[in-house]
């Protein structure tokens, strides 16, 4: 685990409403220490993506609004900054569902990631090479329009694009989605490498709890727009409920997907 510093990102009891009517987050608080990897877990629709977007301020583009609470980055309020300002501050989001620029080639997609950088072309090129080293497949497809690449290739492009900004903090939304198992491991290796070498902090929303908890330092579990459980990754891994509902482990080890349950057990924390 990387050295952990002081609080980098602090979310204080925020409430988010979409379209003026749909209340999605009902008071979420969490903290990311400098240099930490924090996992945000939870079922579909729990509000993970919404939380990340609240931080990166992409909510406004979806007619969503933070109506209560505050978000601090390096002890400064960032609620009213534009996404562009945030990227300049070093906070970048990798959006769920890839969101590549379809008509741009893979390489152009990656270059857009460096839009805010002012450290010269040579540096950018160096990072481009780095991304290609991480994802050799992208190098092969660099001249293809992103819209025509496969799902996994697009996911790699999206992640690579965020790396091109040289961020301090990455908000990763479901990085493993649609990636081959080998690659999932690789991506998390990259995360961990960036975290150790470059001191990049991560807030990552992930469904693949197994991997997420393997690499994260700390985890929060979200249900229905509220944090229901948090703790050191290690302790979460040991938690009975987490084991059953998120890791698919029962006391007898991993269950087969064939042994389907036809009833639902209640999660204890909801009781």
């Amino acid at each position: 685990m990387a050295e952990q510093g002081k609080d980098l990102l602090v979310i204080n009891n925020i409430e988010v409403i979409y379209d003026h009517v749909i209340l999605v987050l009902k008071g979420v608080s969490l903290t990311v220490h400098d240099g930490a990897i924090v996992a945000l877990l939870g079922a579909n629709g729990a509000g993970k993506t919404t939380t990340l977007k609240a931080v990166s301020n992409l909510l406004r583009a979806e007619r969503g609004e933070v109506t209560k609470g505050s978000i601090l980055y390096k002890d400064k309020r960032i609620d009213s900054l534009t996404p562009n300002d945030l990227v300049k501050l070093g906070v970048v989001q990798v959006m769920e569902g890839r969101h590549c620029f379809e008509h741009l080639t893979v390489e152009e997609n990656l270059l857009t990631g460096a839009h805010t950088r002012r450290d010269g072309r040579a540096e950018v090129m160096k990072d481009l090479e780095m991304v290609y080293r991480y994802f050799p497949r992208l190098k092969e497809r660099r001249k293809s329009q992103a819209g025509y690449t496969s799902g996994g290739e697009q996911q790699m492009t999206a992640i690579g694009r965020a790396l091109m900004a040289r961020p301090n903090m990455i908000l990763l939304d479901e990085p493993s989605m649609g990636l081959a198992p080998q690659l999932v491991e690789e991506i998390f290796e990259i995360v961990s490498e960036l975290n150790k070498k470059e001191k990049v902090s991560f807030l990552l929303a992930e469904q693949n709890t197994m991997v997420a908890l393997k690499y994260a330092d700390y985890g929060y579990i979200l249900e229905n727009g509220r944090v229901v459980l948090d703790g050191e990754a290690k302790s979460l891994r040991e938690n009975e409920d987490v084991k059953e509902f998120y890791l698919g482990l029962s006391t007898a080890g991993r269950k087969s997907f064939r042994d389907t349950k036809h009833y639902r057990r209640r999660k204890r924390w909801l009781a």
């Binding site: 409403i17 379209d19 003026h20 009517v21 749909i22 209340l23």
Partner: protein, 355 residues
């Protein structure tokens, strides 16, 4: 608290499939129909009936037509007025050349002709999409306008190309007062609006929306793209055609290409965008907005600006306010008045609790 569906249980799919599953909505509709059919003809004066309500209804019908094509089937069209013109000229020529046909049949056949023309111009939609498709419909718009200006047969070789609409006789009754015209229009519009509402909540409507939202997956489900798009073009143009016929017979009183120029197409397009793309109710709301607002502004202008040098400024102010309001509404609700209405209802449902 007044607007609640709680306590209204539906015990059959039939009940759930009704147009207005909520009782309050049904009552509201009944009241509305009673008002427009019974009250309005008694209280409204000739000006309101003849120059505001009738054109408003006719344009609502055209807007429904365009909404079917653009709102439901997702095919952007700028040729609405062209298809209206086909309807208008078809109705005139049918009346002239086959006088035995009842006028209502003329109107419906006019719609059918418009539908055929619409389908011809809809053919390219299989390949051409989005704003590019707008060009196909613009081609239709200009070409149709040109044909009616240049082929004398359509205007019965009148020297100026403007003909006044013949008197309307329906089942022996002459329809010529403002009230009669209003009622005729109202009946046609109400029936056709109901039919449109029915179609959009049936199979054909679902296939339009499917093509609009994601044509590739629509096709994978088994929806043939060309047939679906053509049906949208056809039915949409049918509505426009009937609207065109009503426009000349019940409102303008003349048949001429200039009444169906590009600006009319845009006018109808504005209606559906302001009112709500993909909403039958929105077609009416949008038509109301676009027809009434300028008149309202103009009336206000006439009231305060009368006789002074300011009249010039007032006319332009009208434009500015109109444009400004369009933008304002979009920012408040990009999905149009219909959605605004819906959100209001949703809030009402929760009221007095905020969320």
């Amino acid at each position: 608290m007044l607007y609640r569906e709680s306590g209204q249980f539906k015990t059959s799919y039939r009940a759930d499939q009704a147009i207005f599953p909520i009782r309050q909505d049904r009552i509201a509709l009944m009241v509305l129909l009673a008002v427009v059919f019974i009250l309005v003809p008694f209280v409204a004066d000739e000006y309101w009936l003849g120059s505001i309500l009738t054109p408003l209804l006719v344009l609502s019908l055209a807007a429904i037509g365009l909404n079917i094509l653009t709102g439901y089937a997702g095919q952007l069209s700028l040729g609405t007025a062209g298809f209206m013109a086909v309807g208008a000229f078809a109705a005139y020529n049918l009346n002239l050349r086959v006088p035995e046909l009842p006028l209502i049949v003329d109107f419906l056949l006019a719609g059918v002709f418009a539908a055929l023309v619409g389908m011809v111009f809809g053919l390219p939609s299989l390949r051409i999409k989005g704003f590019y498709l707008a060009v196909a419909t613009l081609a239709a718009q200009f070409f149709i306008e040109w044909v009616f200006t240049h082929v004398g047969w359509f205007t019965n070789y009148s020297s100026s190309g403007v003909i006044s609409a013949p008197p309307m006789v329906i089942m022996g009754v002459t329809v010529d007062s403002a009230v009669e015209k209003y009622l005729l229009t109202l009946v046609m519009v109400a029936v056709l609006a109901l039919a449109a509402k029915n179609m959009v909540r049936s199979r054909i409507g679902r296939s339009w929306m499917a093509v609009r939202d994601k044509d590739v997956s629509a096709e994978v489900i088994g929806i043939p793209l060309l047939a679906t798009k053509l049906s949208a073009f056809g039915i949409s143009s049918f509505y426009c055609g009937v609207a065109g016929a009503l426009w000349t017979y019940c409102y303008l009183g003349t048949v001429e290409p200039a009444a169906f120029d590009l600006s009319r197409s845009f006018q109808v397009l504005f209606m559906i965008i302001i009112g709500g793309v993909g909403s039958i109710l929105g077609s009416f709301l949008g038509a109301g907005f676009i027809v009434l607002l300028p008149i309202l502004l103009n009336n206000i202008a006439a009231m305060i600006g009368h006789g002074t040098l300011q009249a010039d400024t007032m006319a332009n102010l009208e434009h500015i306010i109109f444009g400004g309001l369009i933008i304002f509404f979009l920012i408040v609700e990009p999905h149009g008045l219909a959605r605004l209405w819906q959100i209001a209802k949703e809030k009402l449902r929760l009221w007095p609790f905020p969320y």
